[in-house]
Amino acid sequence: MPKLYMAGLVMDVCHDNPILNRQIADYLTDKDPDFTVDLDRSYIEKEIEEEVRNDLAFPPSYSEYLAIYRFIATKILDYDGFLMHGSAIAKDGRAYLFCAPSGTGKSTHTRLWREVFPDTIMINDDKPIIRKLAGEYLACGTPWSGKHDLDTNVSLPLRGIVILARGESNYIERVRPETVLGLLFNQIFRPSQDEAYLKTIDLVSDMLTSVPVYKLYCNMDKEAALVAEKTLSNN
């Protein structure tokens, strides 16, 4: 069974999951685990129930794949980490997380970055882990990265959270986090236990004191990446 190293932690995953196995080449390690992921059947059944509630029907191996990440996303709170929905990229060692409701064009926008700036690293295109380490919030690559499987096993300091909205022209401004809390919290994985959720809120709250939040209005032209990068790299 694979041992994975990601977000600065080693996890012993006791599941022979075909979907996960396809994506973990860059995450394998021999180091001693920080924790073990060994889910019993009921945990995976819960994942399936949740999918049925949301009108989704996945093959069992996919449900297991998701259940493993759900477990990790909760467990990682013990290490000051949480899971946030969004497309996380990095340029010049600085990570940026692009958030928006599904279908707005997060992946499209970060693809523009990779076209315009070939040195852009795709950390995780869909569900990065954000972890506080030595007083700094890091955006971490993981092998759960959405339908295009775009991720890199790096953990880099998060220098901006960018709320994406479609616009005619390209414009970015820094906003007070209080004005976008609803949207931000919609992107954050909510653990089922209240105590864990309150810890998540406190971590997010702490993160917002040091990581700036921006609102980006953008179209699908390459100029969008240029405009965003110019402001983001200057903070």
Binding site: R176, P177, E178, L181, G182, F185, N186, R190, S192, D194, Y197, L198, I201, D202, V204, S205, L208, T209
Partner: protein, 90 residues
Amino acid sequence: MKIKQGFILRKCGEADIVVPIGANVEKYKNIMITLSGTSRMLWEQLVKGCDEEALVTLLLTTFEDAPEDVVRADVSRFLKTLAKAGLLDE
């Protein structure tokens, strides 16, 4: 009037947010409640339980220069917002 059970007030940056817990999680999952300084004062009273008049009095004694008709209108609007979101027990 009283705020329904199952909500926790939590600081988030400069804002106060109200978080549904326990059985409320599913029911209120699409609602985000943030409170300003003044509405936080009102919320804290409503958690204990009080009537509209007590809230008006509280604001009038805290903000001595505030015109009473404006305060009454604000309190009434705030209560309507809470009631509409299903947060109040009459």
